[in-house]
């Protein structure tokens, strides 16, 4: 907030208070005009007005306090900024001074050297002068001595060489010039740097590193990011440069991904053409006429994931629950999933959401006898993905499909996953692909149920001469044994002998001795976890055939097997008939 804004705010508050006063005056007049006819009501009104005014005033006080605290913040910020600038300048000047003193020292040293060399030279000259003086002194003394000699003969003898010497000496030129100049050579130091530094103080500093803002929720899409940053201080900035790079978790990539960049005038930008569910490293620099700021700290943004893909064949439902499964839709993991569902026929107003689902499946509680439409979204820190394609779930009964990945290789399943065929061909063993999950002795396949300990009903239609086993088994029932032959499966078995039909109700290899006179071709299977029963019915006759009483320790899954070539069809989605559920 700058000063103008502050002043503006104060004006507004003052105006409001003034208008209030006017209002109050007006009401006062009204009161007096009514006269003293009803004193008590007047006092009541006065009290109410007083209260009103009091509350208004207290509101105003609160506003003023807020305003005052705002102002405080501004002052503090200004002080900080000032302090920073001061520091900046001090530093600058210290640098300048340091440079100057360095130059000074260098210069002084140079001059010192010069002085020393000059002095040496001069000293040499002085010595030579001295020598010359001594020599001439000697000559003069000898000439004087000669002059004083009384011996005229000796004097004439000695005078000629002496006179020659004197003439010689006098003929010598005396060098009286100084060997050195008295001027000093002054080096002009390189002060251009200093000048530059001095100049830059008066000019705008280069901006300081901007600050990357954290990613705003729901601002990203699966291919773009909305990136925001802010200035660290009140720098003047001409433009920003935004850099980004894909962060790859892939350890096989040794080189870093290449960096992309974009020039931006505002403090935000949308970056597109990105990969979904990917993390990007972003940083920004600010530039003005003085120069470029250092790079900001790197922020990590994430694009939103691609939508998941629901798997209708793997979804199962019952009267009051459903288990929904989907594929992630993203190669890298996402944080969680959100499931949205509502009844079909409503206009979406009754949509519920389940959030923070950690894995690719979800168990829902639903109302019976309805049809629901469901969507899934994948969520990461960037936000939620688009909705997946919907799947319809019906709660009119038990719905499930045969699980292809548990089927014995000799079984082929129909396209809708509800009929199984054991073909009469002799497939060589080598052509059959077994896995840990497929049955490898019994030609069997499993179904799936909602993992809730409730009641389930489904029907199986068989051919007249099909030798089958139908019932339930634990999910981890031994894949190398026959259904009903172990203690992890319970089933009704039909054996065709030349003379008659035989029926067995197998568990742990044991069956009661039961004869059935009318061959059931549509078998109703009823499972009730709480009562611990598994019942079989001739659904066409509503005839009860047999009931296992068993306490199921784990969840069980429907199981189906064919002991000879034939076909078997599953009928799902119907409510248990009335004669079964009492």
């Amino acid at each position: 907030m700058d000063v103008f804004e502050v002043r503006g705010r104060l004006d507004v508050i003052a105006e409001e208070l003034a208008s209030e006063e006017e209002e109050e005056e007006a009401t006062d007049e009204d009161v007096f005009e009514q006269g003293s006819s009803d004193v008590s009501t007047h006092t009541q009104q006065m009290k109410e007005q007083l209260n009103k005014r009091r509350s208004k005033l207290s509101q105003k006080i609160v506003e003023m306090e807020n305003f005052a605290s705002n102002l405080e913040e501004i002052f503090i910020t200004v002080e900080e900024n000032f302090g920073r600038q001061e520091q900046n300048l001090e530093q600058h000047y210290n640098e300048v001074l340091q440079t100057l003193s360095q130059r000074n020292e260098a210069r002084a040293a140079a001059l010192d050297e010069q002085k020393n060399s000059k002095l040496e030279c001069l000293y040499g000259q002085l010595l030579r002068c001295g020598q010359t003086l001594d020599a001439s002194k000697e000559l003069i003394e000898s000439a004087q001595e000669l002059h004083r000699r009384p011996d005229k003969h000796g004097f004439l003898q000695a005078v000629m060489p002496v006179m020659k010497r004197v003439e010689q000496f006098a003929g010598e030129e005396v060098d009286l010039k100084l060997g050195v100049s008295l001027d000093f050579q002054v080096l002009t130091p390189d002060l251009s740097e200093v000048r530059q530094m001095m100049e830059s103080i008066n000019v705008l500093p280069a901006p300081s590193a901007p600050v990357m803002n954290p990613q705003i929720a729901n601002s990203a899409t699966d291919t773009s990011l909305h990136v925001c940053w802010s200035l660290f201080s009140d720098d003047t900035v001409e433009f920003y440069e935004l850099y980004w790079r894909l962060i790859s978790d892939d350890c096989t990539m040794e080189t870093l991904q290449e960096v992309s960049q974009l020039k931006v005038k505002e403090t935000h930008c949308t970056v597109s053409s990105l990969r979904p569910n990917a993390q990007y490293e972003l940083w920004v620099t600010a530039t003005n006429t003085t120069g470029i700021s250092p790079a900001s700290e790197r922020a990590v943004y994430m694009t939103v994931p691609s939508p998941p893909v629901l798997k209708p064949r793997q979804c199962v439902s019952s009267l009051n629950a459903a288990l929904i499964r989907w594929d992630s839709g993203n190669t890298d993991p996402v944080e969680s999933y959100t499931l949205e569902f509502g009844e079909t026929g409503t206009d979406g107003s009754g949509t519920e959401s389940i959030v923070a689902i950690p894995s690719c499946e979800c168990l829902l509680q639903l109302q019976p006898q309805k049809i629901y439409i469901l969507h899934v979204r994948a969520v990461n820190i960037g936000g939620p993905s688009d909705r997946s394609e919907p799947v319809h779930i019906s709660t009119t009964g038990t719905f499930f499909h045969l699980l292809e990945d548990t089927a014995h290789p000799s079984l082929s399943l129909s396209a809708d996953g509800l009929t199984m065929f054991y073909l009469d061909e002799d497939l060589p063993i080598s052509h059959m692909t077994f896995s840990d999950n497929t049955f490898n002795r019994c030609v069997a396949v499993l179904g799936d149920l909602v993992p809730v300990r409730g009641q389930y009903y489904w029907e199986v239609e068989v051919d007249e001469d099909a030798e089958f086993r139908v019932g339930v088994a634990y999910e981890d029932t031994q894949r190398n044994s026959h259904l009903g032959g172990n203690n992890t499966s319970w089933c009704m078995r039909h054996i065709l002998t030349p003379s008659r039909h035989k029926y067995e109700f197998l568990h742990s290899g044991w069956t009661p001795d039961i004869r059935i006179t009318v061959q059931p071709l549509r078998i109703g299977v009823f499972l009730d976890y709480s009562r611990g029963i598994l019942s079989f019915y001739n659904a066409a006759l509503r005839q009860h055939l047999y009931t296992f009483s068993c306490h199921f320790l784990h969840y069980v899954q429907p199981c189906f097997a064919l002991d000879n070539p034939g076909a078997l069809t599953l009928r799902t989605g119907m409510t248990a008939p009335a004669y079964i559920t009492p």
């Binding site: 001795d513 006179t517 009318v518 005839q543």
Partner: protein
Amino acid sequence: MNRLTKLFDKSQIVLRNINSELKCHSLYITVNSAMALTQVSSNKCCDGYQKVFEHDSSELKCKMKFAIYLPPKAESSKCPVLYWLSGLTCTEQNFITKAGSQQAASEHGIIIVAPDTSPRGCNIEGEDESWDFGTGAGFYVNATQEPWKTNYRMYSYVTEELPRLINSNFPADPEKMSISGHSMGGHGALICALKNPGKYKSVSAFAPICNPIQCAWGQKAFSGYLGPDKSIWESYDATVLAESYSGPELDILIDQGRDDQFLSASQLLPDNLIAACSKKKIPVVFRLQQGYDHSYYFIFSFINDHIKHHAKYLNA
């Protein structure tokens, strides 16, 4: 003296004729108080009442007792009725004291009527000579031979007189009847159902005599009650009746103890019945129960399954 008794008999006959024409139930009772029911005992059991009544039977021409269990539901509304026919040497007491049927009957709201197994106190010569013929061994037939034909009309008693009596004296739903029984009573239940298509909503049996014309018991009883005419014999044989049955679909539940001495003595012959029903597509579930014998312990063990089986149809 003789004249008096004859007069008395005559008046009885006249009155009976009048009664048989009258359709009104209350009149039926008031006109001939001798035909009325007298309660012999009543015990509260499983929130309902186990009662025993006595009455003068017109078919059997003697006083007959029957047991009736009234579930709690009978106090407020009409209930369906399950008729239970007991086996050789039994009376109306064995079933109600040994079978443990009251709990299930109470839960499913079903009246259970258990008559005696033969007329009593008729003073017929030879009626007490064997345990498997005569007293306690009525075989649920209408005898055609002397000296049995006057009194030994258990078939009509069970299928006509008793239901009429029950429907007019108790809160019974006349449209909802089922029948069950043990051994000779199993035979009785099967033939009543097979000879009266649509009359019984369901039928079940414990260790029934399935093919009396082929076993010693049946041959002894039929030759005594029905004489030499084999066609009359066949009309009371469940296996033969099944082979020629046509009518509404039945749903028959049969339990048979594997360690039943009479099974191994070829008195029961369930295989024959099963074969006949398989051929005629009459739905039967026959369970051979390991370790069980012919006793009431066997009945007790599986009576709940049977009552549940009947409830499915009676309460539908």
